[in-house]
Each structure stands twice: as C-alpha cells, then as structure tokens.
C-alpha cells in the first residue's frame, strides 16, 4: 500500500467541528496507527493506556429490567420480620423522607414511578458462602460457589426510575439529557483492539429498549458490533447473501485492493483511500475469524456443561458467555452481553417476582458461575473484568400482591477479577435495602473503576468541545481495587 502522507487536515478538523462532535472515527484511528497523524492539532487517543493497565478486557453482563437487590446479593431479613407492614409504621419510616427521595428524576411518568409502601418479604432464602461468608440468595447457587472471587458493591444509586436507566447505566446520563457515548464506546475509543482480525467492541444479545447505539458524539465507528452466536450468520452481512465460490471472492478482493492502490497514485492526498483499503482488509479478516470464534466444536463437553449449555434453560446464555470467553481470549476489549430482551427487560418483575426471578436466575446462574470458574482455571481472570449489573434494583415494598417496582435509591452491582479484591463487600444499604447509606456510588463510579483497571483516565479521553461533568467521569472505587 503506497499512500503518501501528509494527511489532509481539514478532513480531520471535520471531526472536531461536526454537529455530533464526532471525533476520532475509524479513519482517524487508522491514520494514527499508520503514523499519519500530524503534530500540534488535538488528536484522537492513540490506543495506548494512560498508565499501567491491570486488565485487558471486560465482560459486561447486563440484566435488563432490574434485578431485585434484596433477593440476589444484598439480602435483607428485616423484610421478613416486617413483612406486610407499611414503611411508615416500621422503625425505617425515615427512608421516605422527601429529601432523601429527591434524587429521583422522573420525567416520563408511567405507572411505575410510585412509592411502594407495604414491605414485601424475601421470596427466597439466602445463606453465607465461601471463606468470605458473604450472603447470597438461594437463586444463585453457582455464582455463590464463586463468591470469594467477587467484589460486591451494595450501595449503587441512579436517578431515572424508568427503564431509560438502562441507557443511563451505560452512559452515565439520564436519557433526557440527550445521547452520550457508553462505557464500551469510551474504551473502544481510548484503547482500540488487541486483535486486528476482530471488532474491538462486541454486543451480544438483543438490545430492544435502551438506545441501540454507543458512539454518539464519538462517532458511529465506536458503536458496538452486534454479533449473534451462530457460526453460519454471526454478524450482519458477514456472508454473501447469495453463495459465491471462495476462489471467485479471492480474485475480487485482490482486485478491489489493487484498484484502490492504483487510485491512490492519482489522489495522493486523499486519506480516505488508505482508510478504505485498511477497512476492507479488516472486513475480510473478520469474515474469516468471527465464525471461528463462535464455532464451539473445539470446546470439550465438560466446558459446555460448565457453561450450562447442556440444560435447555441456560443453553442460550451459556453459549453467549462461552463466546465471550473466546472473544476475550482473542483480544476483544469489551464484550457487552444483554440478558433478557423483550419489553422493558425480562427481570422487570412488577408482579410474580418469585417465578420471574427464579426463572431468570436459572437461565444465567450456571453460565455466569461457569464463566468465572473457566476464566480462573485458564488464568484469565486476572486480566479480565467481569461485571454483573442491572439498571436499578427493586422496591422493598410490594407492588400489587407479589411484585416489586423499580428502585433507584439503592441496588447492587458486582465485579470479579481484573485486579480487584476478591470476596469483599463494599458499601451498604439500610436495613430494608431502600437507600444506599454507606459509600454511596453513582453508576459512573463503576465506569471509572473499570477505566482505571484498563489504565485509562477518562479526563484525558474527553473531547475539547465536549467537556464532561465530574459526575460523568465518576471516581474509581479504590476500596475494592487490590
């Protein structure tokens, strides 16, 4: 490939000035890698960490709809003791102090924005596990088996008590503020890939409710590439929709590149030609490498069982997590997996919480437990950060007779591996799991922790024309970092 620098800078200032402020699109990063970028101007990040990273990759497990904190990783026996009592009649009446409720930002009112006053008992048991003795609900036995690998943050809060909080959990911004890049996009933007044959940022599982895009003002090049766990059809347009002989394809691919190179001689100052040649090379490589990653024929039966792939209820999620491990093994930075698509998310148990959560837990517990064990035994857990989260928790009070409503004031997220402490609990909610009361963390603190482990400083990533607020950056939760 012979394309002569210097690069046309006006094209690059385009990134700075375009309406979406989209900086550092694929073109810029390609140019960067090829050493074509010029001194002096503000430039997109160069894919190098700002300080020594602890981890290489992130597997992000997002439970759509809102997992009940009290029936998962933050059990509250007081709910059994005061079951059926109105909160105002319990010793915890002050949780409904309007001042404490003021963080809620409910702009789109719907049936779910209400206080649920009557305490609802725990719908499953819980017990202590592992050496750490951390309490986990009985719906998650396999994750519980690995509790000594987890750093559990029980003191999360957010502000949007509708499912727009799904977007908020990924971008840090309430949906009414507009569209902002998600965590995966920032990481992609900051670090790029470890592997030139695969996309850098992958999304698995349907994204129905929350915003389907990631890059926003960073540009569409930083959107996740959506993949399916199907070796025959893993990504959009991954294979010719009408069959073409491989040999014919190869001739064509060579011709395309050859003609583009020839054209580059005529237009030596057009950086798009170099970028297009590079993008075709990556595309051709992706076409080969992605089906191989999602083809599990090389995995043992024992591994498949470990991921719950032998059980119908956990097979689908197990396949996604096994694929995630295989992607991470091959250097993909950020694998974002959504569980429970459809409507507002399958964990959204406004009624029938017991059946709802039992079913959902059954689908994810074995695969997640298996993933943690598999990463550990392969020595990958130190360099991989696994995150388990949902957009908010659920109310301590009952909705209708047997459900829980959305709850933004206190909920739980856990992380595992990736240079974090193991078998620790950080932060706490009050005795009925209503408010985060100790070491409170907004969702962006999770982002900051992950970026920190990846060796990134979000303040160095931000665009000059898109200054972010402190709360957008968040702060790393240093207490859980090993």
């Amino acid at each position: 490939m012979r394309i002569t620098p210097p690069v046309n800078i006006r094209r690059r200032t385009f990134f700075k000035n375009s309406a979406m402020g989209c900086a550092g699109m694929a073109l810029a990063s390609l140019l960067q890698r090829d050493g074509y970028a010029k001194e002096g101007e503000w430039v997109a990040p160069d894919g190098v960490s700002h300080f020594t990273p602890k981890v290489k990759s992130v597997i992000w497990l997002f439970m759509n709809g809102g997992v009940s904190q009290v029936e998962s990783f933050d059990p509250k026996p007081m709910l059994n003791r005061y079951a059926g009592k109105t909160i105002a009649d319990t010793p915890f009446a002050d949780v409904q102090d309007p001042k404490k409720l003021a963080i809620e930002r409910l702009v789109v009112p719907d049936a779910n924005g209400n206080q649920r006053n009557q305490l609802f008992p725990l719908q499953t048991g819980f017990r202590k596990h592992g050496q750490s003795g951390i309490e986990v609900s009985d719906w998650f036995p396999c994750i519980a088996r690995n509790v000594d690998k987890l750093a559990i943050v029980r003191s999360m809060w957010t502000t949007d008590s509708n499912h727009g909080a799904q977007t908020q959990f990924h971008s840090g911004r309430h949906r009414n503020d507009g569209d902002f890049p998600t965590l995966g996009a920032w990481i992609h933007y900051g670090l790029g890939s470890l592997n030139d044959n695969l996309p850098h940022f992958i999304s698995i599982g349907k994204r129905e409710y929350w915003n389907k895009r990631d890059g926003h003002y960073l540009g569409p090049a930083h959107d996740a590439v959506p993949l399916r766990i199907d070796p025959d059809n893993p990504l959009d347009f991954s294979d010719p929709e009408q069959p073409v002989p491989v040999a014919a394809r190869k001739i064509g691919q060579e011709l395309i590149q050859r003609l583009n190179i020839l054209r580059g001689d005529e237009y030596p100052d057009d950086p798009a030609i170099a970028a297009r040649i590079a993008s075709y090379e990556l595309a051709f490589r992706m076409q080969k490498s992605i089906p191989e990653v999602v083809d599990f024929s090389g995995e043992t039966a024992e591994t498949k069982t470990l991921y719950g792939m032998d059980q119908p209820h956990s097979k689908s999620f197990g396949m996604q997590l096994l694929a995630a491990r295989r992607f991470v093994e091959r250097g993909v930075r950020f694998v974002q997996i959504q569980h429970g698509a459809g409507g507002a998310g399958s964990w959204d148990a406004h009624s029938g919480l017991k059946k709802n959560h039992a079913t959902n837990a059954l689908a994810v517990d074995q695969p997640i437990g298996g993933l943690l064990e598999d990463l550990d035994r392969r020595g990958m857990l130190d360099q991989t950060l696994v995150v388990f989260a949902s957009e908010f928790g659920r109310t301590p009070g009952a909705q209708r007779s047997d459900g829980r409503d959305h709850h933004i004031f206190g909920f739980t997220v856990w992380m595992a591996g990736g240079g974090l402490k193991r078998g620790v609990v950080h932060g706490a909610t009050d005795e009925i799991g209503f408010h985060a009361v100790e070491n409170r963390h907004y969702v962006t603190d999770i982002h900051a922790t992950i970026l920190h482990q990846l060796g990134l400083d979000s303040r160095k990533l931000e665009l000059p024309e898109r200054k972010r607020l402190d709360i957008d950056h968040g702060s790393p939760i240093t207490e859980i970092i090993a």
Partner: protein, 872 residues
Amino acid sequence: MNHNRYLWLLVSFVLFAERLQADDVAFYLEEIKPVLKARCYACHGALRQERSLRLDTVPSILDAGILGSGKLLSRITSPDTEVRMPPDGDPLLPAQVDAIRNWIASGASGPDGEMAEDDPRNHWSFQPVMRPSLVSVSDMHPIDALLYVKYHRYGLTPQPEAPRLTQVRRLYFDLIGVPPEQADMETLQGDMHVTWYEQLVDRLLNDPRYGERWGRHWMDIWRYSDWWGLGQELRNSQKHIWHWRDWIVESLNDDTSYDEMIRQMLAADELYPEDLGKLRATGYLARNWFLFNRDPWMDEIVEHVSKGFLGLTMNCSKCHDHKYDPIQQVDFYRMRAFFEPYHVRTDVVPGVSDLVQDGIPRVYDGLLDKPTFLYIRGNEKTPDSSMVITPGVPKLLSFKPIQINPVMLPVSAWQPARRPWVLKAYLDAAREKCETAEGVLRTVREQQESSRDEDQTNGFRLRLAELDLSVAEAELDSIEKRATVLRLSWRRDEKPVNREKKDTAIRSERHLSLLKARRTLLEAEMRLMQSSEEGRKTITEEIKQLQKSLDSAVQKAEEPIGSDELMTPIVGAKWTPTRFLDSRKDDPTVDFQSQSTGRRSALADWITDRRNPLTARVAVNHIWMRHFGAPLVASVFDFGRKSDPPSHPELLDWLASELMDNNWSMKHLHRVIVTSAAYRMSSSSIGGQDNRKKDPENRYWWRRMPIRLESQVVRDTILFLSGVLDRSMGGPPVLPEQQDTSFRRSLYFFHSDNYRNLFLTTFDEASVKECYRREQSIVPQQALALTNSRLIQDASKKIAQSISQTLVVNEDRAFVQKAFAWILGIEVSESEQKAALYALEKWGNLPGSFRETAREQLIWALINHNDFVTVR
C-alpha cells in the same frame, strides 16, 4: 511522607523560579491567561464586567487592586461556596492556584501592549452582511475572483479542471443524487458544445430529482423524523409527518425562496391559514411534539431554531448566561415564548375522513395566554413566577423592534369541518362502507344459495352481513343528518340551530348506536355457538353484559330528546393529545382558537429580515458545504464567538448577498456555485506539490475535496445503475418490513429515532436528533455490506448485462472501459485496464464460470471500489 512532600515543593519551586526568570511573560501567556479565559472571562471580560472587574489584561487586573490586597487569591481559594470564584463548576485546580500565586509573587508580569478581549458586538457574524466589492479580474467568476485573492496572497495555483467524466458524475450526484444513465454519460462525453456544462446544470436543476436530493439535505438540518414511541403509542414527532417531507421536496423543485420556506415552516398557520399545502410546512414544528413533557419539547425548538437558522447555540443559555456569546439566560426563555402557545393537530385531507389513515399534522396557537417563566438555573422545578417572559430576541440582534400582532383567523381554520372537502370526505367514506357491506351481503347470499347447507353458522353469517349493511346505512344516515344541521348552522350563524333537524340527527345517532350494540351481541352469540365447552362460560358472561348494553340503547332510542342534548360533531381536525399532567389519561383538550398570537410570524419576519446578519450566512455555508465537501465556517451550527472565523469572509458575504439579492433563490445560488472554476477543479493534488507545501490543509481551496456519498445516495445509486430505481415521488414512508424489497428512493424510507434501515445506517444515516453535518466514516461494516448484501449481488448481474448489451463488439476491453466510466466516472488507465482484464480472465477460468459471470464479478468489485462511494 511529609519529607517527600517538602522535597517536591522545593523542587517545583526551584523549577518555577527558573522558569519565571527565563520568561515570566511566557508563563503568564501559557499558564495564567488560558485559565482566566476559560474560567473568568465570561463574567469579567468583554462579555460582562461583573462588579466592573475585567481580568482580560494584566493592566486591568492590576488596576482593580485585587492582587496586592490578596483578594484574588482569597476568592479563588475560599472554602465557602458563596464566596468562592468562579461560582459555577469546580474550584480551580490546586496546580492552577499555585501557578497564579507564583505569578503574583514574581511580580505579575504581562506582555507589552496586551489587547483586551474584543467587544462581542464586533464579532464578525454579528456585523451586517455587506456585498464585497469585487476586484475585477477580467471576466472571472465572482467566486473564483474571491478565492483568487487568497491564492495570490499565499502563492497558490489552483488545480486544473477535472476530467469531463468526473465533472459529469460530480454534477449528477450533487444536484440530483444519482449518476447519469449510461447513454447520457456517453453523449455528454462527446458533447462539443461550448455550453454543454451550463446546459447540463440547467437540465439537472429542473429535474424533479433535484428536490429529492436537496430535500434530504434539508431534512438532515431540519431534523426530519417519522414518528416513534413505545409499541403503537405515539410519543415523538407525528403520524403522517411525511406531508412535511413532500412539502420540502416540492418547494425546492418550485424554487420557493429560502426566506419564504422559513416563514411557512414557522408560521404558515398564521400566514396561510386556509392553504393546506402550505400548512404542511409547519411539520417542522409538529416534529418536535413530545407526549409527556413540554419542557424538552420547547428546549429542542429553541435549540434548533437558533442552531439551524441562526447559527447560535442558545441552548447553552438555558441555565445561565451564555459563556461566549452576548446571549443572556432570559433570551433563551424569550425565544421559547414565541413557541409557548403552540400545539399540534391533524387536519382532514380531501378524500380521507379517517385521521388514522391520513391527515396533515400542523401547528396552531391553542394556549394564547400561557405564560413563559425563566427557570432558575434551568431547572423546570424552579420557575421564577415573579415575571412573565415576553417573546423577544437577544439585544445585540434586535436591529428592529419585534412587532407582534395577533392574527384573526378565518372561521374555516378554527372550525375546520367547514372546509368544503370535510363533510364530503365523511359522506363518501360512509357511502363506500354501504357499498362494501352490500357487496358482502350479496356474496354471502349467493354462497348460501349455492350450498343449500343448513349449517347454523351460515344463518349467523347471513344475519351478520345483513346487520352490517344496516349499520353502514345508519351511519350514512347519521352523517347526512348531522351534516345538514352543521350546514344550516353555518348559514345562519346568529340564529339558534334548527331544533327539528338537530333532533332528527340525534335520533339517527341513537339508532346507529342501537344497531351497533345489536351487531356486537350477534357476533358474540356466534362465537358462543362455535366455542368449545370451557370457553362458553366467559362468552355467556360477556353476552349478558352486551344484552344489557343493547337494552339501554333500545331504551335510549325511545327517550325524548333533551333540549340541551348535543349531537356528536363532525370534526375537520383533531388535537394531538398530550399527557403532561401525570393523570394516566389525555390532558384536557386544547381548543382551536379564532385568533393566533402572531408571535411565530413575528419571529419568522425577524429571522428572514435582510438585516439579520446570520440567516443568509448560515444558509449559504450549509449549501457551500454540500457542494464542496467542507464549509467556509467550520462549526456550521455555531457562528458565535467560540467558532473559528470563516476562511473566506468576503466569499461568505458575497454568497449571502447573492442569495438575498436574488430573492433568496436557492437554485440561483446552486447555479452560481457549480459554474465556478473552483467547483469544476480536480480533487487530485498531482502537479500541486508546491501548493501542498504552502497549504497542506487545502484551506484556501486550491483543489477540490472528495466527498463520501451519503447513505441514501449509495443505495439509490445501486438501484439506479441496475435500472430498477422507482421514480415515483412522495407519499407515506416505506415501512421497515417493506424496505428490503422496495425500489423507492431512500429518502422515502421510514426513519425515526427507533428505526433506522440497517444498510443505510452502515453508511452514517442521519441522526434524527441532530445532524447539521453528515458523518463520513470508513468502517469495516461498510465493506461487509457492499461485498455481501443481496442488494449488491443482484445489482452486479443487472448492471453487467446492461453494459454488455451496449457493446458493439463484445469484447472485455470495451466492457471494462464502459464499466469504469459509468460506475466510477473513471476513464480507465492502462494499469487499471490490465488489472481488470487479468481478473476477468481468472474468473473466466474458474470451473463452471463463463464470460457473463466473470463480468458480474467485475461489476461487484467496482461497486466496492473506493471511488464508487466517493464524489471526486
């Protein structure tokens, strides 16, 4: 620990000291001034002088006496947030405070002759547009003459004219969004007329596809979006908003002037209240409709009216005074006040009475007295209700007083049932229903006669069909009678409505309800008969209820009619219900009013006034950017003080004057631009090595910039080259499930915040939230879409066939030459020819392959060529 810290301080002090000795002025310029500028100038600079304090030059800082007194340091370091400066945002970083302290300690030096920040009133974009006097360089095109000034100054030589094929392809894409037909391409290649180019320009500007091409550009800027919501619930934009899209396309084709288009979009309901065609324009405002909350709706309007038409970022002043521009917080709310009264409704169109099927979404002032309040710190929960904000514009731009005159509306605007086509639409629909019901009944009868089957279901079917006809007839009767009453009431406005006629209408309606109740019951009875044992119980229960409803309908039909009883009106328009009040049901209806506030037409008048320094400049910058690939003012939606000044201020002003002096005709401006030598230049830098050294960024336009085709053009071109592009214009959008098999132009695809077409998205589809400038990314997904999609595979076959058919001698060399010319606009070079022929041969030698399949492969490769998606 402490020890280290002192050591560090010592070291840093030594470093500071050294540095200050070396160049303390430079220290001020590099470390102090940027901090002051970023954090303090907004209140203590040219924009404002709070407490008469200016911090934009060292002398003014010294004069204020805040250094010696220690006041500056104490204010920036105070722990008390009421005292601490700056009051907004985070305190200065400790390192910044240290730097300021050190700078003061070493004598607070600054450069000689330091200039104060320029008065914001002097900012270039706020100055009146002046037509620059052209230095006449023989008969040079004015654009070239203006560019020439810079060529001359920087010693640049413009590149030569692009090859003819390139020019032809460029012009087609630019003006109509598709390439030429193969035959046209060849004709144009050999056209020897001196004026071939000018003739082509005229032909393309008169082609209706011009409106589609440029319509899509303006749809980006004006944020066109089909409706979206949750499931079937409308939450954003409007159903049938495509009428506005059709208005855009038609207006551009008619060369409606730009100022008139703005007036219609902002205020057609006040200016042309009886012209349905023009009312479509207010879709611009109807698109911002939001079911749940007025504030984000209004915020978006203010933001995008000011960004889109004026190049002002008024959104920055929602919470506080603008940090860069002379726009106060109150100005945001004054702008909002122009829009405060408006709501959205859908008007009945001729021929369709059902607003679910069709109708024109448009705006009207429904809340004539709704006050606008300033929100303290932008928080909608804390309105400052002590003062009602009246409509107005930033002081700096009030070159004339805003005159707001209420508009008395013709009665048909607020009683739209009076429009001649409305009653007719209802009557026609009712008649058609009768005919359909008659037809069904006839068919059922015929079937039953021929089968002679005594099945019980058949009996029900027949009775249902009979009843359906009765219902349809009753409906027609009811509409006829109500129409009569309405017509009478319009004729004698003052007199009471004819009592007898009204009673007849009411009785007819009662009869209709009775028949409907009977029909529902009969249908339930039929279900009961067909039901399985376990289903019977619920249906029996249902039937009981339905029988009750029927009984009360029967009873009602016989009751005497009360003197105050009203008939159901026939509506000519329907308010789009909002849900701002958290009541789980629609808000109270916002009635149509006999007058409009006149606020929006006053705003439109101010925006389109020739004296407005921003409107024309912003427009020509947008137009220039789409012709040339890069704008003259880089931040196309921000012409404020934060933006970079234009690279060619005189050119920008000349274009703006040219637009306004020619009645704001966009076609005129297109013609002027595309006939300049600058437009026709080559985008190659070959031969311009000297230019490249002097101006590597091509800031002064010594060559053209290549442009990546927009998503819609990529798809349209593929269909066009295959000969299948559907030329039909306008109408409802192509729904997502129909898009894969549709041959319509891409601008007609349903496109909203929730739904975007996969293929188009791959090539940077416009975001409906904001898209003042389309992205031009280059990502692997584009390669996958162009190599693997059925769209391309199908097209390759068809294109190869059509080229082969035009060959006089069926040989590959000619095929390659024609294919490069038509598909890429490239006169094929010897080495390209060689590469292509080599590939054709290899393809041809594959087992099972023959000449035509090899050619299909070649076409496939050319569609994947970089220049296929590039305007050279």
